[in-house]
C-alpha cells in the first residue's frame, strides 16, 4: 500500500491505533503488532510515585520502533492541552502531537473554539499538530489555514462504535483539504474503517473497536485488512452505480438462443 505522509513523517500503515482500554500492556503490544500500525496514540499522566517499579507502556511498546503520538485526552481547556503537549515534547523529544480539547463530559465532543486557540499556539511553537475536531468543514478549513498537519474529524462519538453516520461531511472535508484527513472516533467495526478509506480519507484512528472486541488481536488484524481494502478501493476507483441489471456474462454464443 502507498505510504502515509503526515507533517514531516512517513508511515507504512494508514491505521493509527489507540493504546487505551486494553486488559494489560502485553495485549496492547500484541494488538499493535497484529494491526500493523506504526503510529499509536498515547496519553500523558502522572508517574506512580509510590510504586515506581510498576511496568510502563514503554517497556512493552518501544517508541524507537513504533511512533508515539501524544494526545491531550481529558483536557477541557486550551491551557491544559498546551501544558500536556509541552511535557510530551520534552519526554519524547518529538514534535508530532494529537490535540484534542473536549467540550462536554457525556459526548466528549470537541470544543472547537478552545481547540483552534490551542492549535494556533502549538503551531507557533513548532509543533506538528494533528487535531481531533468536529466533522464541520468550516472548522476543518480554519485549522488547515492556521497550519496544522492533519485534521481528524470524528466519525461519531468517542468510544461509541456508531461508525460514520454523516459520510457526506467527511467527503466534503476530504475534497476541500490539502492536508491529511483522518477519521478519528466512532469506528466500531471493520466496515466502518473501509467506508472511511473509500471516502478518500488518508487514515483512520481506532481504539475501542479493537480493545473492546471479544478477541482484540483478531480484530486488530481485521482493521488492518479493512484499511488496506478501503484504500485500494479508493485508489482503484469504484464502478458507477446504475439502476438496472447489467449481465456479466456475454449474451452472444448462448446455446439455447
Amino acid at each position: 500500500m502507498d505510504n502515509f505522509k503526515v507533517g514531516s513523517k512517513i508511515f507504512k500503515s494508514r491505521l493509527i491505533v489507540g493504546t487505551g482500554k486494553y486488559k494489560n500492556f502485553q495485549e496492547t503490544a500484541d494488538a499493535i503488532t497484529a494491526s500493523g500500525a506504526d503510529l499509536v496514540t498515547v496519553a500523558v499522566r502522572r508517574v506512580n510515585i509510590t510504586n515506581s517499579t510498576e511496568p510502563l507502556l514503554m517497556d512493552f511498546v518501544d517508541p524507537k520502533k513504533i511512533t508515539y503520538l501524544p494526545n491531550t485526552a481529558g483536557c477541557f481547556t486550551s491551557e491544559d492541552a498546551l501544558r500536556i503537549l509541552r511535557l510530551a515534547k520534552e519526554s519524547g523529544g518529538w514534535n508530532l502531537v494529537k490535540l484534542e480539547v473536549l467540550g462536554d463530559e457525556k459526548t466528549l465532543y470537541p470544543n472547537m473554539q478552545e481547540t483552534i486557540k490551542a492549535a494556533k499556539i502549538l503551531v507557533s511553537e513548532g509543533f506538528e499538530v494533528m487535531v481531533y475536531c468536529s466533522d464541520d468543514p468550516i472548522a476543518c478549513r480554519q485549522l488547515e489555514d492556521l497550519g496544522v498537519v492533519a485534521v481528524m474529524p470524528l466519525g461519531s462519538l468517542i468510544g461509541s462504535g456508531q461508525g460514520i453516520p454523516n459520510r457526506m461531511n467527511i467527503e466534503i472535508i476530504k475534497k476541500q483539504s490539502k492536508i491529511p484527513v483522518i477519521v478519528d472516533a466512532g469506528i466500531g467495526t471493520a466496515s466502518d474503517a473501509v467506508i472511511a478509506m473509500e471516502l478518500g480519507c488518508d487514515a483512520v484512528l481506532v481504539n475501542s473497536a479493537i480493545a473492546k472486541a471479544k478477541n482484540p488481536i483478531l480484530m486488530a488484524e481485521a482493521m488492518k485488512n479493512a484499511v488496506i481494502a478501503g484504500r485500494q478501493c479508493y485508489l482503484s476507483g469504484r464502478m458507477d452505480k446504475i439502476n438496472l441489471a447489467s449481465a456479466s456474462s456475454p449474451a452472444q454464443g448462448k446455446i439455447n438462443n
Binding site: 502522572r46 517508541p63 511535557l87 520534552e90
Partner: protein
C-alpha cells in the same frame, strides 16, 4: 527539611535536591518521564542545575495507554 508537592502529594525532603537527585530518590528512570516545576517544563539538560525549593509544585509524567 523542605516540603514540596509532588504529583499532587506533599513530600518531605531532607534538603534542597536537584531534579536528577529527586528522580533517583523515587527510583524513576529519567528517560521515561518529563518533569514540570511550578508549571514550567524542565528540559532534561537542566536536571542537574535545577533545584526544588520549599513549597514548589513538581509534576513527573509518563506516557500511558490512551486513544
Amino acid at each position: 527539611m523542605i516540603k514540596i508537592q509532588l504529583n499532587g502529594e506533599i513530600q518531605e525532603l531532607s534538603k534542597r535536591h536537584n531534579i536528577d537527585e529527586l528522580l533517583k530518590i523515587f527510583s524513576i528512570d529519567p528517560n521515561k518521564v518529563a518533569v514540570e516545576l511550578n508549571r514550567t517544563v524542565v528540559s532534561k539538560d537542566k536536571y542537574i542545575t535545577t533545584y526544588v525549593s520549599n513549597q514548589d509544585v513538581v509534576e513527573i509524567v509518563t506516557f500511558i495507554g490512551g486513544g
